[in-house]
Symmetry: C2
Subunit: 324 residues, 2 copies
């Protein structure tokens, strides 16, 4: 597939589950190419069958290893599994945290598992927009489960994990204070809590802490149809994954058939729309201001104006007077 | 100072080094209040004397402890030290990673040290904008050294650390693979490398790795007047801090008197201006689209349109037809 394939044709190939077409369509979504938008609109209209699982956890929580173990079990049950990994992009190399997915090689020969790292480079709203497009592409391609794996640092990363049918937060025993504190903001978004590395003796304490927190009433009243379970797993000895898969399936059923589930889907649509709109607006601004920025920067540097007045001027000059 | 103080009066109080005025002015910057902009513009015009140090490192690298130890030594040398800590905001609680600054209590009785955690809640560009305003406020208040401490995860966080006179990247021995990989994108921005926890036996290897990487030519040719040093410190036994302070001072002198230093300051001005403009634009958009979002989200949810077409409509509807 080295020739240029029109986006419309690509959609049909995606729908046939052709891996090269999936890869290419995601790349076009990631690049934010305007000519891909019609195809992505078509993809959106066809999507909606997959169970989308958002999975997040702090660095060092063993997320990737756990995702692999989970994917292998879902595969064994006959489900095709797509994994979209969201990494904060590095400022120069564009490299990604999870670029080195050595631990995922067990799955790499299996056409029923597709893993994609999203490397978005900073256009605001772009990461969320492209990630949700990638999820739709995998959905249309016939992947019954799509896992969005994000590192649980940064508001966008946490919000993307939340924009799923089921949100899983992974904790691990034995992480340092600074890491534990990052976690605080993530705990409330969990539909299912997972404690990884449960072969370790100190995992019991992490399990108890989470259960204690839930008993204390965090998240109560939000969705009374669902009690957030805490599941311990070990990717090392394989324990806990049956229970986890059962919890995911149960949550999906609740989410599909309750009013709070419907409200959540509308909220996700709102999040997606806002991110797409922000991305659109920022792209327009980036294009329009690019030829002007150096001149304005030099003015600011020599104190010919202040950041606020010059920023106002830059927006006005970029979008024309009528938009200031 | 419980009555409302007009921003103009607040500027004078900041310039007198009054701590409550500093705190209040930073809060107004953080909130992005339009009525604070004139005062912040005035602050900008008066700023420019402090040595601004951007310091970043992965979670668990011992940044906060190291910053405290560094601040204590700078204080001992007679310098007033401001610390601006940039935390990814949590999605619900607005809590911050470094909110619990227990380790900083050694410094808490000293009026010559001011520590502020920035808790910005997601308006795009807002964190960078507010952080740079906070730095200026401390500068004008007479703090000779201002340290911007950011967690080295997330593009914005890394970019803010780069937007300083001198950028310090903190590494630590013995962190896991996932953590080490996050670091990759940060290494190239260092003007000074610090390896913390050098009382540990495995720190030598981290030092050698960094030195080896620099020998291999990373960052060569960018600024030939400056050779990036690698400094080992231990907050536990106090070693290495004299060498670190000397490296910071030497870098500052080089940065102040070279063409590449001047170019960097223009680039920082460009970054600041872009972030301020983005923030301005996103605030306008957020205000304008708020009453429309639910209706659009419901349309997207029932597939009456796709994310791209509806996002375009939302932008157009928010800013009026002439701005679509």
């Amino acid at each position: 597939m080295s020739r240029y394939v029109p986006s419309r044709e690509l959609v049909e190939r995606v729908a046939n589950g052709e891996i090269p077409a999936i890869a290419r369509m995601i790349s076009r979504a990631e690049a934010g190419l305007p000519e891909a938008r019609e195809a992505l609109a078509e993809i959106y209209q066809r999507a909606g069958r997959a169970h989308v699982i958002g999975l997040t956890g702090v660095p060092g929580s063993g997320k990737s290893t756990m995702v692999c173990a989970l994917a292998a079990r879902l595969r064994a049950g006959g489900s095709k599994v797509g994994i979209v990994a969201v990494d904060p992009s590095s400022p120069y190399s564009g490299g990604s945290i999870l670029g080195d997915r050595i631990r995922m090689t067990d799955l790499s020969g299996d056409p029923g598992v597709y893993i994609r790292s999203m490397a978005t480079r900073g256009v605001m709203g772009g990461m969320a927009r492209a990630t949700m497009d990638a999820v739709d592409i995998l959905d249309v391609a016939g992947f019954e489960t799509v896992i969005i794996e994000t590192v649980g640092v940064g508001q966008d990363e946490v919000e993307i994990a939340k924009a799923a049918d089921t949100t899983v937060v992974v904790s691990a025993p034995g992480l340092g204070d600074e890491i534990q504190a990052i976690k605080a903001g993530m705990l409330e978004i969990a539909d299912v809590h997972v404690v990884s590395k449960c072969d370790r003796s100190d995992a019991q304490r992490t399990l108890m802490d989470l259960k204690g927190m839930l008993t204390l009433g965090v998240r109560q009243g939000k969705n009374s149809e669902w009690r957030v379970p805490v599941v311990g797993v070990s990717s090392y000895d394989g324990s806990g994954f049956e229970e986890l898969m059962s919890a995911l399936e149960r949550h999906r059923n609740v989410a599909l058939h309750t009013e709070s589930g419907r409200e959540r889907r509308v909220a996700i649509a709102g999040f997606r729309l806002t991110k797409t709109a922000e991305n659109l607006l920022m792209e327009r601004f980036a294009r329009a201001c690019a030829p002007l920025t150096l001149g304005f920067a030099q003015r600011l540097h020599r104190h010919d104006g202040d950041p606020y007045s010059l920023a106002g001027e830059l927006v006005a000059a970029s979008f024309g007077k009528e938009r200031s």
